[in-house]
């Protein structure tokens, strides 16, 4: 696991956890790993978030949602987008991975397995509907930048796979 410690003030944790990814509403931004730091300094909350992909249109919304949630708890806040260190799918928490699967998005495999399914055509991605590994990639790109399209050969369910990003 890439260890780049998050620096989150305990008092803010619950509020930030209540904010979800606008494209995957069941997933908290905290479980997504996009919040890198949140500190209180001089009556102002400073939050740093990092994008999953450069063009992720959700980042602006996430920034606004964070400010709204903090305002409800009477905090003034400033949200800044940071690029380094670059986000990786390793930062999605186990709870986040379960939320993705429950939502119908297969969670990212490790780097090597990911390469095997995206380039080698190996069947390692589990269908989110029936659990079968008899699945195939339909396209390397999916409905958003972070996903690829898959389909289950057994139950025919089409589903997204969250690509591994290192």
């Amino acid at each position: 696991m890439t260890t780049t410690a998050q620096n989150i003030d305990k008092r803010l944790e619950e509020i930030l956890t209540s904010v979800s990814d606008p494209e995957i509403p069941v997933l908290s931004i905290m479980d997504m790993g996009v919040v890198r730091s949140a500190i209180i300094k001089d009556d102002m909350v400073h939050v740093e978030i990092t994008p999953t992909y450069s063009g992720c249109p959700a980042m602006d919304v996430i920034g606004d949602d964070i400010q709204k949630a903090l305002a409800e708890a009477d905090y003034k806040s400033r949200v800044e987008l940071v690029l380094a260190p670059a986000w990786t799918t390793d930062w999605i928490t186990p709870k986040g991975r379960r939320a993705l699967e429950a939502y119908g998005i297969a969670a990212p495999l490790n780097e090597e397995a990911d390469k095997n399914v995206l380039l080698g055509g190996k069947q390692l991605v589990k269908c989110t509907n029936c659990g079968s590994k008899n699945t195939r990639m339909v396209s390397q790109f999916g409905s958003t930048a972070c996903k690829a399209q898959f389909q289950c050969n057994d139950c025919q369910e089409p589903f997204d796979y969250f690509k591994c990003l290192k």
Partner: protein, 251 residues
Amino acid sequence: MKNENLYNYILGIADNNLILGQRLGELCGHGPSLETDIACTNISLDLLGQVRSYYQYASKLKGEETTEDSIAFLRKEREYVNVLLVEQPNTDFAYTIVRQFLFDIYHNLFLEELQKSHDITLTAIAKKSIKEANYHKRFSSDWVRRLGDGTPESNAKIQEAIDNLWTYTDELFHQTEADKAMVKEGIGVDVTLLKSKYYEIVNEVLTEATITVPDTKWFQKGGKNGIHTEHMGYLLNDMQFMQRTYPNMEW
């Protein structure tokens, strides 16, 4: 402006992404299949996302009333310094894929070096972007192989696109004044050093794709100095329409 060379240097990188992103965006709803349509627009989105990081940085350097939007939408044709390759029209899927392939190989080599820049903002953008650029390269190289080594018709189309776009490849390795200044300061990438590796990789993929590598020695240039092909005006017209018609509009 204090950092004029750095400002120009950033535009030299970012304008390529912007114009190629715009070209790919034109395919939204017009791709040859749903999957390739989504792929091209996804790549476009990545490139435009990268552009925002570059232009935000550039606008900070420039100060005054410059914003990422004014850099993107309110310059005149001569002020864009992208290479001619990226402004070439989509024509058909062979041209779209070959243009992408010729750019992606360069883009990856370039970002690999930019990661070592002494400028921490550029390093951060490069580290973020290279992951995406690498995925683009896989996609475009796969399609060049698949179509080149496909049917006689798909082979002929890829060959035609390579023959026509080849003349725009050499410009990727030309240095501007801003390039030279930034290389000296350890901030910029010396693109002349990427050239042999570039053609080595490109030739390898083309050979696998059973495509003949053109042997032309005559190359087009000008984009890096703001002298563009006839396609650029139409592209800008389309891209800038909203901001020019409704100044300062926001979504």
